[in-house]
């Protein structure tokens, strides 16, 4: 079978799978923490206490600037206080075969959740937990929710 992944993608898959092997479900916690740290490393200077629209714009442009990680959209704030998120062409979706885990349950997915959680906290001052709600493989869209906690 031919592997079409780039060397970088192979490295990411190997790291994620090894951490998952060693830590089991605890890999999610480790990856979430890594995502939170990455928020500060990637975007050291973010505005604070910004309204929803500005946060959505900053995050969309920020993720786009990473190139290759997909298109992030903070869609709306719901009446219950949660936020709808759509992530199209998520770069981590390609690892599901090797990880043996569906989207939203791979350890590497929790890196993304941690990244979004920390970035939203920094931008809007709100602690949230991000969860995958549905994955639409046909459209390559992960629909997620950021739930205040």
């Amino acid at each position: 079978m031919t592997d079409h992944r780039s060397p970088q993608e192979t490295v990411i898959a190997c790291i994620s799978n090894s951490v998952s092997f060693m830590l089991g479900r605890g890999a999610r916690a480790a990856m979430r923490e890594a995502g939170k740290k990455a928020s500060w490393e990637i975007w050291p200077d973010l505005p604070e206490q910004v309204p929803f629209e500005e946060a959505a714009s900053v995050m969309r442009e920020g993720v786009a600037s990473l190139k290759g990680f997909g298109d992030f959209s903070l869609v709306q704030q719901c009446e219950d206080g949660s936020y709808d998120i759509e992530f199209t062409n998520c770069g981590f979706a390609q690892y599901v075969t090797q990880s043996g885990q569906p989207c939203g349950e791979q350890a590497i997915c929790f890196f993304g959740f941690g990244l979004v959680e920390e970035t939203m906290r920094r931008l809007m001052g709100q602690k949230v937990e991000v969860k995958l709600i549905t994955r639409d493989d046909a459209c390559s869209v992960c629909r997620e929710k950021a739930i205040p906690r």
Binding site: M22, L23, G24, A27, A29, A30, F110, E129
Partner: protein
């Protein structure tokens, strides 16, 4: 509501022994569900550490043929960290003083973990 009940169990646990300095209930994904922690301690960091350590303990016990994991105990110069499962979805973490009587604490933590497990 559930957080209040979890906090109530933790308050009771902390009250069972003067040797217990802090405690928390953490989801296996590493998110803090309830905590009685000292001021200045980062809840998120404690949560991530606890979930990761307990999972590593699970894996180690499994790989080294030690059977199902019962607890993870860490001893430092300034005291103990004790972690145990509370059902399949949560971890109980307790910080205790260096001269703590561990036998009693093990019993109290086990009882608290059972109560927490029934709530989650």
């Amino acid at each position: 509501m559930r957080a209040d009940m979890l906090n109530s169990i933790l308050t009771e646990l902390n009250g069972t022994s003067a040797d217990i300095e802090a405690s928390g209930v953490i989801s296996t994904d590493g998110l803090m569900m309830a905590a009685q922690l000292p001021a200045g301690m980062d809840e998120d960091r404690v949560g991530a550490m606890s979930a990761a350590m307990l999972s590593l303990g699970d894996r180690t016990a499994q790989e080294l043929a030690r059977g199902s994991l019962e607890q993870v105990l860490i001893k430092g110069q300034k005291g103990y960290v004790l972690m145990t499962h509370a059902g399949n979805e949560a971890v109980v973490t307790v910080l205790a003083k260096p001269n703590a009587k561990l036998g009693l604490i093990f019993l109290d933590v086990k009882r608290a973990a059972e109560n927490i497990s029934s709530l989650i």
